[in-house]
Symmetry: C2
Amino acid sequence: MNFIAEIVIMPLKELLDPQGKAVEHSLQKMSFKEVDDVRIGKHITLKIAANSKEIAQAKVEEACKKLLANPIMEGYRYELKEA
Amino acid sequence: MNFIAEIVIMPLKELLDPQGKAVEHSLQKMSFKEVDDVRIGKHITLKIAANSKEIAQAKVEEACKKLLANPIMEGYRYELKEA
């Protein structure tokens, strides 16, 4: 079975997000004064072949831990659906 | 009222995504051979103050068009919920 994973990797809440701050300032200068708390992370989609959703989930979890997210600075969450 | 927008900006399907390809190759070398079609985009969250959800939506749409997404290379989608 094939699954599609949608993975969201965001800077941890406790940390400053310089990219988000830069975009926030740009937006506020551009007549978007009502915008606040901009945070920018990564959105990753991938296809994964596995015999069950549980196996696919374990693989995605491992991929996040080993390569996709930096646990010192980032948190991750994901959703899996059948392709 | 305050709203939280979750904005997803992804490279268009028609375009090659070099960052996604690089990560795909790394994963495949790291015992994730079952992974395919990796694509990497941006995930942006922001807070927006507006009198109604419609106004907030129009503002987020405008921000995506004017600053956040590059329409030549990227597509965007978003969800708004009350904070």
